[in-house]
Amino acid sequence: MKIVKKYFLIFSLFCYAGLSANELTVCASCEYPTIKEAVQLAQSGDTLIIEPGTYFESDIQIEKPLTILGINYPVIDGQEKSYIINITSDSVTIKGLSLKNIGRSYTTDFAAIRTYKVKYFHFEDIKLDNPFFGFHIEKSSNGVIKNNIIRGNAVSEHNSGNGIHLWHSSKIQILNNSIENMRDGIYFEFVKHSIVRDNVSRNNIRYGLHFMFSNDDRYEKNLFEKNGAGVAVMFSKNIYMKYNTFRLNWGSASYGLLLKEINDAVITHNQFDQNTIGVNADGANRIVFENNSFNNNGWAIRFLGACYGNKILQNNFLHNALDISYKGNMNGNIFDRNFWSEYTGYDLNKDNIGDVPYRPVKLFSYVVNNTPETIILLRSLFVDIINFSEKVSPIFTPDNLKDFNPLMKPVINND
């Protein structure tokens, strides 16, 4: 009984604490005409309700736990001066705002919303119109960035910023955002234990998603379309990449997925459609490619130097100009049980596995590796002849670079 009383007391205390949090309404004719004023006068844990309208404010400093809720997306116009909202306190929630005209600078990374050394933040339903940087998260953790729309204007400008920029942070969830026309859609530098899920990142001038020196992260179910390159994973370990779609990344420096100096990654159930190069791997070790589909790419996978211990299992290679391009020796890379649309062998015992191994590397891809300009000869008779002769009596391709069990039917389990 005593225990029940004690809990009741604690419970009622919490209730009281809940009631003591005030609501402050901000509008032109209200008690608080500006957001800055309301933020200054609010107590820790208060909620600000922003009424519809346009507020010309910038550099709103939030130094205490607050909840800011916009009604019908009130606009905060930063008049290209500085940051719009600068957060240095834990437990800040911001929802339903529309932010525009963020300052631009060569030396400072101005952002619509910036956090510095902050925990437990939550940013939801925020519209960013032509920001320099969108969200700039520094040395922060345990945050959620969800359902936001970021529209940049970085079509030709190179002095542009990233949509969601994370630096030295951990345990961040980036969910269901839409990002267009920025430099990088989402950028991770020294970021750990974070998730990127269900986002759409397109028309960004560099990358849809970019990892630098970041370990133990995962991204899944995202769409990367028409970026300079879809995703770049560089100098990172233990990255999980699942159920993503990489589409229409065309151009001489364009890749669906760029892997550079990365170890121990898992790439499964992804879709690579119509990219110049589906996966460009350089210094990539111990990576498992499983159940991916490569459709109509220039190259499906291009392995450059120093790729060891990779496994390419049960993928579909459908109608790529060149399936695999390869430099150097096999170094423990394994190709097994993939479906190759160009495979022409028989399956006499009907076990769905071709009776003759498939060699995915064409002689011509070696020529192209050394002299990129020769690609214009791709569809010529001469190239067909050298490819055929290499197939009949291989001289250039490493002896064991073949798929011993090529499948006769595409792998279906793509979900």
Binding site: N159, I205, K260
Partner: protein, 143 residues
């Protein structure tokens, strides 16, 4: 007739010279770094080297250039160029530049390295953002 020949000869000569050693232009957002394959977008940190044969290697960061030239024959390179941090997009002679390494001025490949054609611009930024200044020779020892 004689004059026409002379003019033709002159233009031929000019076109020969113009194929020679000169800095390339970087198409930001389209060109890739020769060293790390990244798209080049940052016009404050881009760099390039031009060989004696006129071939241009482009880099997204000065640190990429520094790492790449270690593999190259120094005698085969005619020009080392970097973009000036204080004048974005403008190329300057890398061997005469001053360099700032500051944790508060990030560069594309993580070395926090920026270059300046004028030393006073470098020291001004150093006062503001901290860090260490290097000359070209000192910088080469860092890589």
């Amino acid at each position: 007739m004689h004059r026409l020949k002379l003019i033709l000869l002159f233009f031929g000569f000019v076109s020969l010279v113009s194929c020679g050693i000169e800095p390339g232009t970087i198409d930001y957002g389209k060109d890739a770094c020769s060293f790390c394959q990244m798209n080049i977008v940052d016009n404050q940190h881009a760099a390039q080297v031009v060989t004696n044969k006129g071939k241009v290697f482009k880099y997204d960061a000065i640190e990429c250039m520094m790492r790449d030239i270690k593999k190259k024959d120094h005698n085969s390179i005619a020009l080392y160029l970097i973009t000036d941090y204080s004048e974005p997009g403008k190329f300057t002679d890398a061997q005469k530049a001053t360099y700032l390494v500051s944790a508060n001025v990030p560069s594309p490949m993580g070395a926090n390295l920026s270059g300046f054609s004028k030393k006073e611009n470098a020291s001004t930024l150093q006062q503001e953002k901290e860090g260490t200044l290097y000359s070209w020779d000192e910088l080469k020892n860092q890589f």
